[in-house]
Subunit: 306 residues, 2 copies
């Protein structure tokens, strides 16, 4: 694949930015990739592992001359970073982000940017529970969706170019309206994360069962929750605070439904439970068919037997 942007600047050097860097290099999507991180330790680590062609000590220097600037910082500081880089942006540059919430980012970043740059918010639906510059890998975005959320009056050519860039990184790209994005993500990601965090906290609080026992005997259910609940605390705090309305709406529906199932347990209504569990099974099948997960019966462990 050929170069799509001569110069790409990654602002914030965590899991997403570092994975983007290795994916950009894999396909040669950029002539040069610059980087900046607020923390000195992160910048040192990035230089040490060869993350970015050049790591700058200021965001202003990193974005100077960049054709594409990618904001890879927690949602809560996007606005502040935008204000910092705005005077240094190249005319005609594209500014995008990778935040998990879009309406809040549009409201906080948009007003700072000059008229002569293209602001095209984005959100790659990919991640792991690990964070930091050393956690990235080139394949993170392969076959995953990247949602682009163009604001009113976005330049079509600039959007198409960013779309090609994410496709080069490995993603399938789709455009979506900001508020709808925030609702879809509240259902598929934000509420599930809060729920997982909660359950892991409850286990930790229970005095009659020791942490050691919880850890030792954590079967599939809880183990999956702990993986989710190990995600970056700062990133997730910002997600919940900036997608407040949608998250609270989904959580409201969730508790309503949970209470109905609790009542079914209490009253011994086995039919209600069985019917509910049968319905949820079908949704899983849909996900397998949509190619978003593997159906390997052994989760990748070596198989013997039939």
């Amino acid at each position: 694949m050929s170069v799509i942007y001569d110069r790409v600047a990654l602002i914030g050097l965590g899991l997403i930015a570092s994975s983007m860097f290795w994916a950009i290099k894999r396909k040669g999507l950029a002539g040069e990739v610059t980087g900046y991180a607020r923390s000195d330790a992160t910048r040192q680590t990035a230089r040490h592992i060869g993350l970015c062609d050049h790591v700058y000590d200021s965001a202003a220097d990193a974005v100077a001359g960049a054709d594409l600037v990618v904001l890879c910082v927690p949602v809560g500081v996007m606005g502040q970073v935008a204000a910092e880089i705005a005077p240094h942006l190249k005319q005609g540059a594209t500014v995008t982000d990778v935040g998990s919430v879009k309406r809040d980012v549009i409201d906080s970043v948009g007003p700072h940017l000059p008229e002569n740059v293209h602001f095209i918010p984005g959100h790659p639906l990919a991640g792991t529970e690990h964070s930091g510059p050393e956690s990235g890998f080139a394949e993170l975005f392969d076959q995953r969706w990247c949602l682009l959320v163009p604001v009113e009056g976005s330049d079509r050519a600039a959007v198409d170019r960013l779309c090609s860039f994410w496709e080069g990184i490995g993603s399938n790209v789709q455009e979506m309206e900001a508020d709808h994005h925030d609702l879809v993500l509240a259902v598929t990601s934000h509420a599930p994360h809060l729920i997982a965090y909660t359950m892991v906290g409850v286990a930790d609080d229970l005095s009659r069962v020791t942490d050691r026992e919880v850890i030792k005997y954590s079967a599939a259910g809880f183990r999956d929750f702990t993986r989710i609940a190990a995600s970056d605390p700062t990133m997730w705090r910002d997600v919940f605070l900036s997608n407040k309305d949608a998250t609270l709406e989904i959580l409201g529906r969730f508790t309503e439904e949970l209470f109905a199932l609790q009542r079914a347990i209490r009253t011994g209504d086995g039919d209600h439970l069985h019917e509910y569990f049968t319905r949820t099974r079908a949704i899983r099948r849909g996900i397998i068919e949509a190619g978003q997960d593997t159906d390997a019966p052994d989760f990748g462990r070596k198989k013997s037997g039939p």
Copy 2:
């Protein structure tokens, strides 16, 4: 490893029994393994794939002469199956089970069994979201815990023998008291499963977001939930109904905690959220250190980059 029981009978031929069979064969732990399933179709499938040395058309025939009988049926029918096989059990045989709840199984199975057999309830902490005779594989129990819950007056030699059997299958074995087992499992498995089922059901109900969107954009959080929520509906209905008190207690604590986090979101209390999420991250580290899960940053995908 040498033969531990001359004849083992597996009653119920789903994921657990089929995995046990392949694990028994892998190490030669039994002279002969017989099997029985209530459904004719399951028995046909079992014969077709070579599951069990002999599949019988009645539980009575399957257990005749068996030195170890393993009840691998949903918790809700354990008592009924025990009543059915009781008159046909060999003197001195050991009867165990693999149910996810122990107090209820003890109460429903125990009274049916004759004095001259050893009843030693058990619970291997292993599974996948798949069910049926074709879903099993020999490695399912490797390095997983198997909890044995001996009832009062259990014969020590019989318990030790069953322990060796499970170790041969690949498990680490630990003994635990029945009520404590049910509480620990309510925390680590039963409540998380109900929560996952609930969240998947909520997503399905939401009219403003289509099922297709939920499936297409299901990021890590939700995808893990759907995997959990795809587990066998009958098995789980029985688990919740038979571990009612502990499950409801944990769910009560869960909603209490969830409401506190919801309030923190509503009031914008970022410190509360950040503190909570930091604490849950530590629990995950404990699980990795206890060897119950992998810490691979790419979930096993091929890694490039640094």
